[in-house]
């Protein structure tokens, strides 16, 4: 077995998580083992990376991600992330990571106040992170976007800092679907091991079940690069 096929990637389930099965499936399609992690257990089961999937944990009560952030498993995630463990937050998972202060900024309701579900073009603004190194710098990818609280906000000082340090990982291309400041779709921490974004790479990982890409119906599998990236990161670590 190669080092890649031995990689174990944890997927956390909180009460109200919706996309944990899809995330686990994406991990397996990329060639790694998916390990289910439970919000109530302070145990990461020695995984090599962690995915916080999308959904509506705790019904988005209080603020999206605000209650999940205090789950027993999150204390371990914060420690491990600060120690360099690759962590990816998708949609609600991104919201949990901002609430846990692993990533800067926060998400508020979409500026148009409606839930949105569409295939969205993004530009990879930083391909040097643990979750983006399989992409070319500036590459355009198309993956699904579906959220209600997806408007990325933070103060101007933080925005300027993120831009200066290359920590904007993804930007919306063509259309800003939720009013996010400076079209930001995803950000990374300083070290590049923690990445969060609102769109859903795990829904575009298998031909026939991906996004329409102009030639093949549901043939777009641009999301697979996230999982290929982290496997490359682990092999090269």
């Amino acid at each position: 077995m190669s080092a890649i096929s031995q990689a174990r990637i944890g997927v956390i389930t909180f009460p109200g998580t919706l996309d944990d099965r899809d995330a686990a499936r994406a991990v397996r399609l990329a060639g790694a083992e998916a390990v289910s992690l439970w919000h109530g257990e302070a145990d990461l089961k020695n995984v090599d990376a962690v995915v916080l999937p999308g959904g509506f944990s705790y019904g988005d009560y209080l603020r999206a991600g605000a209650i999940s952030r205090f789950a027993p498993v999150m204390e371990k995630v914060v420690d491990a992330a600060n120690g360099g463990l690759p962590v990816l937050g998708i949609c609600n998972g991104f919201q949990v990571l901002t609430e846990a202060h692993l990533l800067p900024g926060s998400m508020i309701k979409n500026d148009h106040r409606s839930f949105i579900c569409r295939e969205q073009t993004l530009v990879v603004e930083n391909n040097r992170t643990a979750w983006t190194n399989a992409y070319a710098q500036g590459q355009e990818i198309v993956i699904p976007l579906k959220n209600q609280d997806g408007q990325y906000v933070c103060d101007d000082k933080t925005l300027d800092m993120l831009e200066a340090e290359g920590r904007v990982a993804f930007r919306y291309q063509g259309w800003n679907p939720n009013g996010s400041r400076r079209n930001i779709a995803g950000v990374t921490n300083e070290r590049g091991n923690v990445v969060g974004l609102m769109p859903h790479p795990e829904h575009a990982v298998e031909a026939g079940f991906g996004v329409d890409n102009g030639t093949d119906v549901r043939g777009g599998v641009d999301g697979l690069g996230f999982f290929a990236s982290v496997l490359a990161t682990l092999v090269n670590a």
């Binding site: 603020r63 609430e99 508020i108 309701k109 500026d111 106040r113 103060d155």
Partner: protein
Amino acid sequence: MGRVVVDVMPKPEILDPQGKAVAGALPRLGFDGFVSVRQGKRFELEVEGEVTPEVLEKARKAAEVMLSNPIIEDVVSVKDASGEVA
């Protein structure tokens, strides 16, 4: 039974989509003259016994750590509301 009331509001510089929706709906119902609306949150924390300075301090801490997110919200007040009618 003592009660602490915590009020949290979106920061002035942060867009408030919910407040905007309410502001848009008011004139349609004939409630004219309200030029803007901002929507916040009120938390009522009940305790056994009196609201002591220690209880208030704990409520302030909870307001900072959990009830609000300092990036998008301000805690505008934390007060003993034991005497108020619920």
